[in-house]
């Protein structure tokens, strides 16, 4: 009997397991885990429940897109870039098209610029709804994912009608967009916006004012403003820290400078305020899309380009930025005058949020908050992997 007890307490397998020096242990979360956004792993070192060290591990979704793009024609890459970020693919298409337009000096018709803004904002809306569901799931509130993801489906229906694709749209072409609105599309967009706006009070009752959410998220993962700026935070996460920076305003592109919207900010910069800033952005985005529908002019949607299989983009380099639902999204494109890009560097927003900031922010929090923190930063692993 006594032999059995000795065998089970583990001391023969792990000598010194009970000593004070060995209080720390390692725990892996991911790469396949419902509490991690995408294929991503967190290697945590814990002492009791408290995280003392965190390392991230990526590469589970590495597709080598940057290398692949150097082997493909400019037109072929349009179908590649959107796959870099799954929940919010359109900033990729936007950046890629805009980089070619800047290098080749192509003008985009005004109607196409408005349509691009509409697509970008619908994509932001869909992405935020996705994040609400994900965040709720990490703290055990499973009604919210069902609601927000089924509501997101209405936006995907709009995308399917406009572009033919639900998740990936392959819609922006250098020189404009692929096709104009189908008949009656604008009114269906308005219907979906009215529906989502009408759902927000329900979301508030179910989720944002939920006592469990407040208990779990307020005060977790505080990222003070100066620290946030030093660590390279961008987008909603920086605005939740009280710094009003938005690429749409400060480095305006397409027709954002003709639309009226504010940059909402909060100052607590904890997991709860990073969630609430996205709740505020949903309202702001609905307003932007309504303005687009009001102001959109008639006209062509594509400035017709010659045979796309023979495009040669003039030699040069350009750095284009846009505001994705996760933060600053930038492309650095170099062309040597050939039919393929010489180099495309993708700077995803999650490259900073998902690695450096997450690793540092996790330290000192408790194990049950690790997933929540990752979702509150809205780190998107496909952007890190590329």
């Amino acid at each position: 009997m006594s032999e059995l007890v000795t065998a089970n307490d583990g001391s023969s397998l792990m000598p010194g397991a009970k000593s004070l020096e060995n209080r720390e242990y390692n725990l892996f979360i991911g790469p396949n885990h419902p509490g991690v956004e995408g294929n991503f792993a967190l290697k945590l070192t814990l002492e009791g429940d408290t995280i003392v060290k965190a390392k991230t591990e990526a590469g589970f979704l590495h597709r080598g897109f940057e290398k692949l793009m150097e082997e493909r024609l400019f037109i072929q890459n349009i179908a590649i870039v959107c796959r870099i970020c799954v929940p919010d693919p359109d900033p990729n298409e936007e950046n890629y098209a805009r980089a070619i337009e800047a290098l080749a000096d192509i003008e985009v018709p005004r109607r196409a610029q408005f349509i691009r803004v509409l697509v970008l904002e619908l994509s932001r809306l869909a992405s935020h709804l996705f994040t609400f569901g994900g965040h709720a799931g990490t703290i055990g509130l499973y009604t919210m994912p069902n609601w927000s993801i089924s509501d997101r489906d209405r936006i995907l229906d709009l995308f399917e009608e406009l572009t033919g694709g639900r998740v990936y749209h392959i819609y922006n072409m250098p020189g404009g967009v692929r096709r104009d609105f189908p008949a009656g599309f604008a009114s269906r967009v308005r219907d979906v916006l009215d529906y989502i706006e009408g759902r927000l009070p329900d979301y508030d009752n179910l989720f944002f004012n939920n006592r469990i959410l407040r208990k779990r998220a307020v005060g977790i993962g505080v990222l003070p403003r100066e620290r946030a700026m030093e660590w390279g935070t961008t987008g909603p996460n920086l605005r939740a820290a009280g710094f009003a920076h938005d690429v749409r305003k400060d480095d305006s592109y397409e027709v954002y400078n003709e639309l009226e919207f504010d940059i909402p900010t909060l100052k607590d910069s904890d997991a709860y305020s990073r969630l609430m800033i996205r709740r505020k952005e949903v309202v702001q985005t609905i307003g932007i899309i309504r303005q687009v529908l009001d102001k959109i002019p008639e006209g062509p949607v594509w400035n017709k380009q010659p045979n796309p299989l023979k495009w040669r983009v003039p030699a040069g380099d350009v750095y284009v930025r846009s505001e994705s639902s996760k933060g600053e999204y930038a492309y650095y494109m170099v062309s040597d005058g050939g039919v393929r890009p010489y180099r495309v560097h993708v700077r995803g927003a999650s490259v900073t949020h998902g690695v450096h900031i997450l690793e540092n922010l996790l330290v000192g929090t408790r194990i049950e908050d690790a997933s929540q923190l990752m979702f509150s930063l809205d780190a998107c692993p496909p952007e890190v992997d590329r």
């Binding site: 080598g64 700026m229 900073t352």
Partner: protein
Amino acid sequence: MIADNYLAHTADPRVRKPEAATGSPRIEEEIIKAIQDATGNESFSLKAPRRIEGPVDSDRLHTLASLIWSRVGFQHLSAISCVDWLAEDEFELVYHFWSYRDFCLVSAKTRIPRETASMPTVSDLWQPALFFERDIHEMFGVVFEGNPDLEKYILSDWDGPPPMRKDFITREFAHDHFHFRDYEPDWDELVKGGYHSNRGEGGTDV
């Protein structure tokens, strides 16, 4: 309470902000002038609205970057891009700095030989550079002196050459390392007597 706990764990005396990062916005010409005054570098010029760029010698880049941070006030390092210019036998590193004060991007371009491929880190000035440099080290093999963590990240089980280099040909690598299946076999011969007839002993798995 929890916030205090967090701060105790990550107390870092390096949180600092350059004085020049605040103030009234400057136009592009004023920024070019400010860079000239601070660094003595006269090669920066306007490329497009809100875009300034200029070449820098690689041994001067860190000094220039620290002056751009402190005296000109560019607080945000947006990205570091690496381009492999195989014909010239050089890597080009492009540092993209963004100013929250002026809403303007400055790109500093520097070239280093492919053979030595070494560069001092700027992670002492901008912390996001820690990962940007690690990524470039992994994909291009450039060594950033002073960066504490250049471990493999995305390609953790890769032992080949840095794959983003232009002399790494993906197609050749695939041909050398992977077996290609015959996608146009003689189906009539293979499935003679029924599809599963050849799955037994001595048969070929289609």
